[in-house]
Symmetry: C2
Subunit: 260 residues, 2 copies
Amino acid sequence: MKNLTELSRQKKSLLCVGLDSDLRRIPAFLHSYDDPIYEFNKRIIEATAEFAIAYKPNLAFYEALGPKGWETLRKTLEVMPRDVFTIADAKRGDIGNTSRMYAEAFFETFGFDSVTVAPYMGRDSVTPFLEFPGKTVFLLALTSNEGAADFQWTGTEGQPLYQTVVEKSQAWAKEYPGELGYVVGATRPQYLAEIRAMAPENWFLVPGVGAQGGSLEEVMAHGRNPQGGLLINASRSIIYASDGEDFADKAREEARGFCW
Amino acid sequence: MKNLTELSRQKKSLLCVGLDSDLRRIPAFLHSYDDPIYEFNKRIIEATAEFAIAYKPNLAFYEALGPKGWETLRKTLEVMPRDVFTIADAKRGDIGNTSRMYAEAFFETFGFDSVTVAPYMGRDSVTPFLEFPGKTVFLLALTSNEGAADFQWTGTEGQPLYQTVVEKSQAWAKEYPGELGYVVGATRPQYLAEIRAMAPENWFLVPGVGAQGGSLEEVMAHGRNPQGGLLINASRSIIYASDGEDFADKAREEARGFCW
């Protein structure tokens, strides 16, 4: 398994680059290639890999392209350097035998190091993903969007749902070889400290810095642990830093800004 | 939009056939074809379309095959007769711009009539799917698995989460052109009547009859409304009724048993 703490120390970074790669937003000159999204991803990865410890393709953007989008995803994974961690941002979760098939899809067929999972269906929808040694499950806890308030903040006897999710899943993970992490949005950094107290050793995948308005400094202050413990995701602010032929150079500059 | 009530009256059925098609379970003779899952699906659809009003490919089973699984899914949709309703059982849900891409993937790229959506991320993760006129969103309410108890039954002031999901989403749907339905498991039929009271006019997609142990009679008694209102899903009990060369005939017999 790739050691995130080690990668973070080598690169002096906790940056995860989100590959939300959209045909409508990539530079126009790439459209002359057979597979423009692959060409875009390859150049973004080459330009930023010195500063990024993880890459997170957002599955929706590949699925919207139909079968050839999955081929683009497969090729993108092939050009990932060895010293990065990969996250399938898929937010899957279903009854046990179906979750098992999703886990096979991402961990075995595509070879991702981790996947994001939605908790709504409970224990037997999550544990099939935890059965894979050396793989990581990032379970949605508190997300960065406005709608997080609708259900994640509701709860029983003063405990909001996102805390119940963290508490119960901590117990489940003890029985399985896979690693458990959490998705915790950057747009509410005060809650990061609270979830860190409940889950001191788990890695958090933190979206919402950049285009969604979260502050990097606050996230670092509230969420870090001695191992690092945070994957700070930035997508649009890096990959669309420029829409010209210099897009990779501009992405590199943006990525460098996340290092210390 | 295909009218489910009309289809149900024509076929005297509320059956949805779940295409959880697995290379490890389909008849051995199909493995000599280039695309065994497509050959299997085509024969199952031809054999059962007289009795089924809907088909529900379970996306996990196609994703596990990598890019070629999505090609199999595309070809399967091409052989669907005109008089059936199609459901992408995908359980997606993400921040707004990402949910929009998932909606494009299933409604536009693949041309499904409906998709299953997970509610954990709240309003702005669900409404992008409801923006498509003539399409239906089946939102997870109470699922058929054991883990449903972990979060769906927890709640605020006596209202379990699955009821909060139904109540809030009823209000959201009023502002959008798409249709809202719910996933309500058959394994707890007493709750079907309760959710029916909260959502008298919505269609429910009901998994859990058959292999998961739910009773068809109880589901019909507790969940029907004057329009029909129920899509009774059966997957394994129909598609794997036989593992021999007679699998399509046996599937047809099983499907016929769901008609009145």
